[in-house]
Symmetry: C2
Amino acid sequence: MSLLVVGSVAFDALETPHGKVERTLGGAASYFALAASYFAPVRVVAIVGDDFSAKDKAVFHGRQIDLTGVEHAAGKTFFWSGRYSKNMNERTTLATELNVFANFRPTLPGAYCDSSFIFLGNIDPTLQRSVLKQMKCKPKVVGLDTMNYWIERTPAELRETLRHTQILMINDDETRQLTGEHNLMRAAKHVFKMGPRTLVIKRGEHGALMVHNNFLFSVPAFPLEEVHDPTGAGDSFAGGFMGYLAREGRINDQILRRAMVYGSVLGSFAVERFGVERLTNLTLREINARARRFLKLTAFKL
Amino acid sequence: MSLLVVGSVAFDALETPHGKVERTLGGAASYFALAASYFAPVRVVAIVGDDFSAKDKAVFHGRQIDLTGVEHAAGKTFFWSGRYSKNMNERTTLATELNVFANFRPTLPGAYCDSSFIFLGNIDPTLQRSVLKQMKCKPKVVGLDTMNYWIERTPAELRETLRHTQILMINDDETRQLTGEHNLMRAAKHVFKMGPRTLVIKRGEHGALMVHNNFLFSVPAFPLEEVHDPTGAGDSFAGGFMGYLAREGRINDQILRRAMVYGSVLGSFAVERFGVERLTNLTLREINARARRFLKLTAFKL
């Protein structure tokens, strides 16, 4: 089934111990769409400036990614610049230039309005909700990402959007901040009262934990010898996760578990190269082989 | 098969958000022995002072724990006092009084000298090696714990002891410090050059990771709603791990995986109550039930 994502498309300047790039395609929606496209058709709602060239767009070509919903506005594309520390456990933001993204008002092409699976990337909760209002049919599953900025500044708006969300996908700090509860199991109970019935906690190098009503599922991060660029790992995870759900077209315990694994698989590939590079040249064979390696990494018999 | 542990027996004063105790049995060897005793007979080599009463000793009674190797010396037992922060993610040491432990020279009773499985708790590497020298037969498996203090101050002695070690069980910071390598996969390769063929990295609330020549295995920490006292979690993990290996009497991939799970099971029980309390009233039924919950927490099918 088709999957709609709304979020940022950006140009990033990145510096890690493995190298430096001055301008590479980035933004949550880019990572998400590329990762998800290995599993299901993806419809993108985003905004870019007039510096976004045909060559930039070509990164998405040849895949099941629909860019009709990407608005081209006068001005520059969202730009982000960051530097990672030697061990890549710290990130310094050097520049954030919102540019055309500052005036982003998501508008869905008519053909998008029947999407069954929706992922509301990390943007203003009011804009996230405006996407839902444009849907003709009630979507099957709404996933949502957010961050400390919205938790602090627009708590009431975020609460309202969460009421329409089934899957909340945030990191452990955000979970604690949103709920005021340090213990993640108790925090999950708070989240369930806000609307979502599934909480996916992204923990970076420590993997991810899912709490879903009656069960818990934990998946480690894939232990890699070389991480070239951690940018976009969480968005690639979300893309793999939601893409797999959209491919299956329904949700049950086993499907949610596998979605966690495929999310982790796509996140682990993303960090192997700079920017979105690795996500553009994967094969299903590689994806499935790594999923089997996750099985070996975690399986035991009693 | 019988399992020998050398390490500290102590009295702890503990303060966590859930309460306070002025004097409770602690020390790595206490947690280790109690946890391991659910799986195999344990022989303890330690030292206590003349304040260590029959009542203190009684905690170990009625289990397969041999205390013949616990030396009673004139003076006070090792004392440690610590306080945990509100979220229990930080620990402040308030007092460390080595007392009789300062002059600990491990002496093995004759009957101990045929132990097949040995765990060298976190003490001076020279003393760890002196235990190995007292063995009549070459032990089947030697496990070892250490800490930043020995890595910094007695690196050569530690290296020599590691040459006789098969399983190194330390946390992620210690792994990085010992090898000078931040990436844990590359760090493992350094460790294998030092002697051990199995590296078990304890990661607290993030679980544990095992690297063993040709395979990797990751187990999460059990997500608990209430942690009463994190003291001894790592030592209980080590006890469950080594105890399970000793019960099986041999090592292969599946046995190592299960040892990781039983280690995590015992660690998760230990933190449910203050000090060693929970480790003294467990049943095999509870242990096996929690192991099955670890299976549910991690299992998926492709």
